[in-house]
Amino acid sequence: MSQKLTAKDFATSQEVRWCPGCGDYAILKSVTQALADVGARPESTAFVSGIGCAARFPYYIESYGFHTIHGRAPAIATGLKLANPELDVWVVTGDGDGLSIGSNHLMHALRRNVGLKILLFNNEIYGLTKGQYSPTSRVGTTSPSSPRGSVDTPVSPGHFALGAGAKFFARGIDIDKVGMSDVLQQAHAFHGTSLVEIFQNCIVYNEDVFGSFTERKNAANTQLHLKHGEPMLFGEGNDKGIRFNPGTWSLEVVDATESPDDVLVHDEGNAVVARMLIDLHMPVALGVIYRQPAVSYEDAFYSHHPSRMQRTKSITDFITGPSSWTVD
């Protein structure tokens, strides 16, 4: 039973019900592969999701799965993790599920640092309900509920997360196998809430909204794959780098061959730079943007339950209360 499992061992017999060409398929593949790679066990793994296209995910993973209600997965997963801290609990959510109806729970899970691996499938649209604009949709998005273009300023998942107190924030692209593999493994290893924003293509309602940086052929110039302790290089042959401009208080692209010393070295623990990386538009920062180890909520919770919530006394020890008397 404890032999190494493969990605296939994490597939269920359920027919996958996404639109042909949906980015969710690639994510599913990366996740089953990552589960195999980290040596996860199906019986100790649970996937909890809300509602949305993304939220169908648990049906397709051979593990325990709970397809709950819209926006509430982080809260349900928190209860599950508290009940059984040994479990690997994954949460799958969408930009609507996680950042519209569910952002309260997402925020509180993040600030508490509950040991959950949260995958946020961001397609900048409500897929399941047929394409209304979402809280991550860009201003001007035309959709059935915004025929003249949306007027709501979108929220940035990264800024939201760090503002809420997230200790782990990473990004991946649905079809980028290598990047996703790394990010998922790091997320799995983190002790606390790891939030992974995945740029996911909704081919039906928001096709290619991330096309400017997800296209493989120009990836070298549009994607900045971060690695802790390594310089922030990108471009063909890593010819470009990122430096801090103290005048504008922002990051900018520099010719790495000309001024190699200006190039910042990625420090996952630096929240100030992490926020500037989130703002970076071209290239787009990917990989683990921020990681700051801290005590997880379940550990803090159980620190008040030294017996790990095993009963150490009996109700008969408590039932009498502070004082009692006898009637004969």
Partner: protein, 612 residues
């Protein structure tokens, strides 16, 4: 106040400003009453504000206690003794008093300013508004300050001892031992020796005042008969305490841990506070970010194999209704405790009401039946918590337990049960006959429709659950029309099946046939009990509201008239009409206050006179 040796029971009301320490004084008096062997019932009645402006009528905090030989089941209709710390307290309480009641007034507080704040144009001590009562006007503030002068406290700190001074007077009146209260003060104020000593001194000073005062003639010493309680070990208990213990006991009976997830709200918070102290009994508490997160975390914990429990009052329960549907559809156990309060909306947060019965029985989208049970007395909260968990685990369903603001705070003597008298709570076994775990997870017990409780972490049983409709047999998502019909019927049958596991409904008292039966539920038990006893009326009190006990229709058929007193606009009447086709007479009181015994007697008698 013309009672002394020859009385059976006495009602004492203490009233003052929110900052006067009334609730503390009251509860200490109740503890002492308990130790003295009397039966009793209490009713703390406090304002919605933390500390409303000093001296106003809406800032009055009161504590009422009924004590005596018993059985005592209510805090009493009309106080025999009132301690009023200020004019506002007097103003609010006067209309409730029994004629001839003893009124102890804090003379010092009757300043022009305080009279005005209370809305008194003239000083009531000067005219005939108090003629019906026996008034003892004591300079409580001054006498107390003098007593604690030696401790060098500031005027305001010293002034805060006056509740102990007044408690001393009451202790003398009822001839009580001061030692247990002194012990309590010593323990509680260990960190503040000066305050500790000042309070003890004030207590003794008040006691001495009773003994030596020139007013000794007016201040009678009262001796009450010992309570006629069943033999056993007793303690004083509030509903919140009993429910907390009941939940922990259920965990032990089921041999599962309990995860209590809640968001503070009046009057539900005391249960949360109590449960935080029961960690050694395998109880964890999680203060969630809102009520939705609270029920969801409880569902998550139940999914994880602990007994998930959540609690709130009406507005918070409203927020939980969507998630209740999930628990129904996923067939997970869960207990939802509702401490009902006055509504609609924010309503009267600190006042009691039983107006969430509709919400409990009918208040969800779709055909989503959930068993509903309720507690009648503070002590019974213990038993009904166990019952709720038992049903939840047997049938794999959420269960709603209705309590109310009155029960949360009201204390009564409670015979400590012998835990070995409770049957263990069983969970449904996994039937391994089927090798598809999805199917295994939805193989239900033939009698209870309960499915096995399989949690993540169990090897070889991986399966998926959720809120979409699922195939009755395989548990997979199903949009099949016939299956949906079958599942709808199964969910209804599951809740109906609870009735088969219940003891038949009993009459509380009175003959089982006749012209009139009173049917009650919840915390109206106390006043109804007194009213039916004094009128010799038949009485049925319901603990199981959905489903109703199987024999209830038959029981009711023995009576010509069914009177249903409720602290709502007639919600149980709807339920009885709906489920049993009977035609009850509603007696509705929606004032945020419990029924008076006299009101009920009046109603019962008027019905007895009326031809049916």
């Amino acid at each position: 106040m013309n009672k002394n040796k020859d009385v059976d029971s006495i009602v004492v009301r203490i009233a003052g400003d929110s900052g006067d320490g009334i609730q503390l004084m009251g509860s200490q008096f109740a503890v002492s009453t308990a130790l003295s062997g009397s039966d009793f019932a209490t009713f703390p009645d406090y304002p919605a504000e933390i500390r409303a402006p000093v001296g106003t009528t809406f800032g009055v905090s009161a504590y009422q206690i009924n004590l005596g030989g018993g059985p005592i089941t209510t805090a009493g209709d009309a106080p025999d003794v009132l301690v009023a710390f200020n004019p506002a307290a007097l103003k609010v309480s006067l209309p409730m008093l029994r004629k001839g009641a003893l009124v102890i007034i804090n003379n010092d507080s009757f300043t022009r300013r305080n009279l005005t704040k209370a809305g008194y144009l003239d000083d009531p001590r000067d005219d005939d508004r108090l003629v019906d009562f026996q008034v003892v006007a004591a300079d409580i503030s001054r006498l107390n300050l003098e007593a604690v002068k030696e401790f060098g406290l500031s005027k305001s700190e010293g002034g805060r001892c006056k509740n102990f001074w007044a408690l001393g007077v009451l202790m003398w009146m009822f001839d009580r031992d001061l030692a247990p209260i002194e012990d309590w003060v010593r323990q509680r104020m260990a960190a503040h020796p000066t305050l500790r000593d000042a309070n003890i001194t004030a207590l003794h000073a008040g006691h001495a005042y009773g003994e030596t005062a020139e007013l000794a003639a007016a201040l009678p010493q009262i001796e009450l008969p010992a309570a006629q309680l069943e033999p056993g070990e007793y303690r004083s208990i509030t509903g919140a305490e009993a429910l907390a213990l009941g939940i922990a006991a259920a965990g032990e009976l089921a041999d599962r841990q309990v995860m209590f997830c809640s968001y503070p709200i009046t009057p539900a918070s005391p249960l949360l506070h109590r449960l935080t102290r029961l960690g050694e009994l395998g109880v964890g508490t999680f203060q969630a970010e809102d009520e939705i997160a609270a029920i969801c975390a409880a569902i998550g914990a139940s999914y994880g194999g602990m007994i998930g429990v959540t609690s709130s009052s009406g507005p918070g329960i409203a927020l939980k209704t969507e998630a209740m549907g999930l628990a129904v559809n996923a067939e997970l156990p869960l207990v939802i405790v509702n401490w009902q309060r006055g509504g609609p909306s924010t309503g009267l947060p600190t006042k009691t009401e039983q107006s969430d019965l509709y919400q409990a029985v009918y208040g969800r989208n779709a055909d989503t039946p959930i068993p509903v049970v309720s507690a009648s007395t503070s002590g019974e909260c213990f038993d009904m918590a166990i019952e709720a968990v038992r049903i939840a685990l047997r049938h794999m369903t959420p269960v709603i337990l209705l309590a109310d603001g009155y029960l949360s705070n009201a204390a009564e003597p409670w015979r400590i049960p012998d835990m070995s008298s409770f049957a263990p709570i069983e969970t449904n076994a996994v039937r391994t006959s089927d090798d598809d775990p999805q199917r295994t997870a939805f193989t239900r017990d033939a009698d209870s429709y309960g499915r096995p409780w399989i949690s993540p972490g169990q090897p070889e049983l991986m399966h998926r659950i959720g809120g979409l409709e699922k195939d009755v047999a395989s548990g997979h998502i199903s949009y099949d029309p016939a299956n949906h019909q079958e599942m709808t019927e199964l969910r209804a049958a599951k809740v109906e099946s609870v009735a088969g596991f219940l003891p038949p409904q009993q009459l509380e008292c009175g003959p089982d046939k006749g012209s009139l039966v009173v049917v009650g539920w919840g915390s109206t038990y106390g006043p109804i009990y007194q009213a039916v006893r004094s009128t010799g009326t038949s009485f049925i009190h319901l603990r199981y509201l959905s489903p109703l006990p199987g024999n209830l229709g038959e029981l009711l058929s023995g009576f010509d008239k069914i009177l249903v007193p409720e602290m709502n606009a007639g919600q149980l009447c709807t339920l009885l009409r709906d489920k049993l086709g009977v035609h009850p007479i509603s007696y509705s009181k929606v004032s945020g206050q419990p029924f008076l015994i006299s009101e009920l007697i009046g109603k019962i008698e008027s019905l007895k006179d009326e031809p049916s």
